[in-house]
């Protein structure tokens, strides 16, 4: 009954306490501290990320198609266009000695080509039909203008298979071989072309050997396994009071350790630009020492007046049944982990300096999954409590990643790479609508880059 009076009375009166204070002055102090309206950065990042992803996919598709084209089989020669007048570009002279022609073609593997390329141009056809001879091609290696024609020469030469000419009646020839689509090996300098192709042609090497020069060119795509370690600056704001284990209630900035590892794919262009993306797992570790104090009311039987206490300035000695408190302090070590799976999309520029490459890159980070895990250990390192929160939020694109790296060509296609990296706003999830946090991660990384 008394309790009811007391409780009601306090409740009622405490609601109506009047505090005199200057509200206007307080607002003036408060106003500059209020958050300003944020710009819609996530949308900007969304478009930036989208464009970067499209560029990445386009680059990959281009490389894949390019590789496919260079590995096209000899059979495609059948689709090539005819040279209108080979004599315009070639010096074609009939070989009168059939044996020589056979000998020349013995080592070639032309059967496949011949059976599909049943035709040749009129000029050659007439030569063959009249003379039943194979045209011999004489190159003029010293004339650079013929370098481009050399490939055309090759194709005409391959068509002129002895066996085909002998076995296939001219009247059955229906298609005219063309030259326009013949894959031409791209070499950087005419000198290289001359050294790689001309000697083969002048020696009248077999076609398949010549075509084999046209290997898939280096794709400029590389794979980078990376490992990083760094420091995290976390800003945590929370109105959450429910999760004891994770201790997310402290509104403060803390410096934590972070590790990440992942695999990136990188596409380089000749002008030094590169596009890099991949997937990586970041783990942020937080260790807290925590002491839990349990206070229990106990009753002590004291027959002597030795128990005393201070109260209102007086020291009171007491005996008999005395109410006291039992204070128990239990020490825990808490280990919280925050894991996130991220896809950075980086656009960068790289400069070659001998065996070293120095690069800078920047781009958005797509956060695809987040997970909190927390453990509490007692003094004997036994886990006494554990908790886990999976954050089932949508993809987040609100972070930016910048890196500077240097890599060293270790071996033909292997580079060792190292650098520093700064990720701003990484993993800023909102948990239970009460916790907001922002991570700024500065880290160093090492990795290997394997060129494909």
């Amino acid at each position: 009954m008394l309790d009811d009076h007391l409780e009601d009375y306090f409740k009622e009166n405490l609601e109506n306490v009047h505090t005199s204070w200057d509200k206007e002055a307080f607002w003036d102090d408060l106003e500059p501290m209020l958050p300003t309206k944020k710009k819609r950065r996530p949308i900007i990042w969304f478009w930036t990320g989208g464009i970067a992803a499209v560029l990445l996919l386009t680059g990959l598709a281009f490389c894949l198609l390019n590789t496919k084209e260079t590995t096209s089989s000899n059979l495609e020669i059948a689709k090539n266009q005819a040279v209108d007048n080979p004599k315009d570009v070639l010096n074609v002279t009939p070989i009168t000695d059939n044996k020589t022609a056979s000998k020349q073609n013995k080592n070639t593997n032309q059967k496949t080509i011949s059976t599909t390329t049943k035709n040749t141009n009129d000029e050659i056809k007439s030569t063959v039909s009249q003379n039943n001879r194979i045209p011999k091609i004489n190159l003029i290696p010293d004339n650079p203008s013929l370098l481009n024609a050399e490939n055309k020469l090759i194709k005409n030469y391959t068509i002129a298979d002895e066996e085909t000419i002998e076995e296939t009646p001219i009247t059955e020839v229906q298609e005219t071989p063309t030259l326009e689509n013949i894959p031409i090996k791209k070499v950087s300098t005419p000198a290289l072309l001359a050294t790689e192709i001309s000697p083969l042609l002048t020696n009248e090497e077999p076609l398949n050997k010549i075509i084999s020069i046209s290997k898939p060119k280096k794709s400029n795509i590389s794979i980078l396994p990376l490992f990083g370690v760094g420091s995290v600056n976390r800003t945590l704001n929370s109105t959450n009071t429910d999760n004891e284990l994770l201790d997310l209630r402290n509104n403060q900035e803390t410096t934590l350790a972070a590790f990440n590892f992942g695999v990136h794919v990188r596409k380089d262009w000749n002008n030094g630009l590169f596009l890099q993306s991949g997937i990586e797992l970041s783990t942020i570790h937080e260790r807290l020492n925590y002491t839990q104090t349990d206070i229990e009311a106990v009753t002590i039987q004291s027959d002597t007046a030795s128990f005393y206490q201070s109260f209102a300035g007086a020291t009171l000695y007491r005996k008999g049944e005395i109410e006291a408190q039992s204070v128990t302090n239990t020490h825990y070590e808490r280990h919280n982990q925050f894991q996130s799976l991220n896809i950075p999309i980086l656009v960068g520029y790289q400069r070659h300096m001998g065996r070293f490459n120095i690069g800078l890159a920047i781009g958005p980070v797509i956060n695809i999954h987040r997970k909190f895990r927390g453990f509490a250990y007692n003094d004997t390192k036994q886990v006494v409590a554990a908790a886990q929160i999976e954050l089932d939020q949508q993809l987040q694109l609100n972070s930016i990643d910048a890196l500077a790296n240097i890599d060293y060509s270790l071996y033909k296609n292997i580079h060792v790479t190292a650098g520093v990296r700064y990720q701003y706003g990484l993993n800023s999830p909102v948990t239970n609508t009460t916790i907001t946090q922002q991570y700024k991660v500065g880290s160093a990384f090492v990795g290997l880059r394997f060129s494909l």
């Binding site: 409740k11 405490l14 307080f26 607002w27 009071t241 349990d294 206070i295 201070s310 408190q325």
Partner: protein, 181 residues
């Protein structure tokens, strides 16, 4: 409806609306903060943090899930407790036993006390008792919730409340004696 419009303008960062919202709610929130600290400066710090959190998280407030007043009060209480922790205030102190002074606090005595006297009385009891008393009696939190908020066992919360009541009764009786002299 007007309130929702005001909230939306606050979310959009309209300072005039934010001030209007502040003027509407400041007294009530200050009142809550004052219950947790006897120091006006500390109460202002609590209130400042409270408004920062309110305007930061206002867009997350869902009127369907609860009343705005309760949401604001929860933030204010949380900020008050956080500030007490930050100031390294020893919430758990060796408490004075008020057993030997236990007297009855009758309605007649209570009637003589003004609202400000009540607050003064509250500030005279140990802080941990005051916090538990506020949370349970005034804010209506259960012992389970208080235990989670303060990281203390439920039994301790009950014991603190009991002691808070005893201490308050003692204080009331002391005041009665002073006034009767």
């Amino acid at each position: 409806m007007e309130l929702i419009k005001l909230l939306n303008r606050c979310i959009d960062g309209d300072r005039v609306s934010q001030k209007e919202f502040y003027l509407l709610t400041a007294d009530r929130l200050m009142n809550i903060c004052r219950r947790y600290t006897s120091n006006l400066s500390d109460a202002k710090d609590m209130l400042q943090n409270t408004y920062i959190q309110i305007f930061k998280n206002l867009k997350k407030f869902d009127p369907n899930k609860g009343h705005l007043d309760a949401w604001l009060a929860k933030i204010a209480i949380n900020e008050a407790l956080q500030l007490l922790r930050k100031r390294k205030t020893q919430l758990i102190k060796e408490a004075h036993s008020a057993e030997q002074f236990e007297l009855s606090a009758t309605p007649s005595i209570l009637e003589k006390l003004q609202a400000d006297d009540v607050l003064q009385l509250l500030h005279e009891i140990p802080e941990i008792y005051r916090v538990v008393f506020n949370l349970n009696i005034v804010e209506g939190f259960s012992h389970q919730e208080i235990a989670e908020l303060l990281d203390i066992p439920i039994g301790t919360s009950r014991s603190h409340l009991s002691r808070a009541k005893k201490a308050l009764r003692t204080k009331i009786e002391q005041q009665r004696k002073i006034k009767s002299c």
